[in-house]
């Protein structure tokens, strides 16, 4: 359910999916990329525990602030923790890359209300490449996949997906199958 690499996912649909169109691969960024919001959340969560020490270092008495205000400041702090966590999770969970029998779909939610969906038919795919660089990428085995499409259509990039080399190969194999079907369709024996 919360995996970043799912082959043949069940109980999962996407906007614009044709009836009978099967999802072959559902990808998200590797979970380790969530550290970019998890670390600030941990710091913010632990901040109230350090406030008395900071106040004592600054030689300020914490009890000059009325207790009701202290409670409200604490609540605001934990609201921030909640919303950063929720937004971080939503961003990770819904930014997906989907490979179906017909298309490649890249769903991006850049900001709060901005949605971008790139769809490229598998038959338009000309070339795929993958790259993996850096310590975290090598340790956790994730990287980028670049998919070049024919003509003036926009290229599609999968960022920080697990097993990038396999994904690139898988997409190209699926494209070859489509090409194979296409050739057969126009093949007139005899």
């Amino acid at each position: 359910m919360f995996s970043s690499y799912i082959e043949n996912p069940t109980n999962c649909r996407f906007e614009g999916q044709d009836p009978g169109e099967k999802i072959l691969l559902l990808l998200r960024a590797h979970p380790i990329t969530n550290l970019s919001w998890i670390i600030p959340v941990i710091l913010l969560f632990s901040f109230p525990f350090f406030v008395p020490k900071i106040f004592s270092l600054l030689n300020i008495d914490l009890f000059i602030i009325p207790q009701t205000f202290q409670i409200v400041f604490l609540i605001i702090n934990y609201l921030l923790v909640l919303i950063i966590s929720f937004e971080g999770f939503l961003h990770w969970y819904f930014n997906v890359y989907i490979v179906t029998e017909k298309n490649i779909v890249d769903v991006d939610f850049h900001s709060l209300l901005f949605k971008n969906i790139d769809v490229a038919p598998l038959r338009n795919i000309e070339d795929t490449s993958s790259s993996m660089g850096g310590i975290l990428n090598s340790v956790f085995h994730y990287g980028n996949v670049f998919i070049q499409t024919a003509g003036a259509t926009k290229n599609i990039d999968f960022h920080s997906v697990p097993r990038p080399h396999f994904v690139a190969d898988f997409i190209l194999d699926e494209a070859h199958k489509i090409y194979g079907k296409g050739r057969d369709a126009y093949h007139h024996p005899g």
């Binding site: 999962c12 906007e15 939610f109």
Partner: protein, 89 residues
């Protein structure tokens, strides 16, 4: 901040800490600031509901209804906090 206080008998000056939170005006100012922040937060929470709705329509999974419910509860909490802060501050 400390205020220097001179004694009438000409003794050494002593310092007494100034408590900003004793002033009614400052307390009122902080209360209004907190309420404005919470009001903006509630508006943001409403936008998050819309965002989750948009996301759930784009990718339908088993988790989508749970996330929708959570975002709606979150709005309730955000509005409840405004009432709470209004009451206790």
């Amino acid at each position: 901040m400390r205020r220097i206080k001179f004694t009438e008998r000409g003794e050494m000056p002593t310092t007494t800490p100034v408590n900003f939170f004793e002033s009614e005006a400052i307390l009122l100012f902080v209360k209004i600031a907190v309420l404005i922040i919470l009001a903006f937060y509630a508006i943001f929470a409403l936008m998050v509901v819309r965002q989750v709705d948009l996301m759930s329509k784009t990718l339908v999974t088993k988790v989508s209804p749970v996330l929708k419910a959570f975002s709606i509860v979150h709005v309730g909490v955000a509005i409840g906090l405004i009432v709470l802060a209004w009451g206790i501050l």
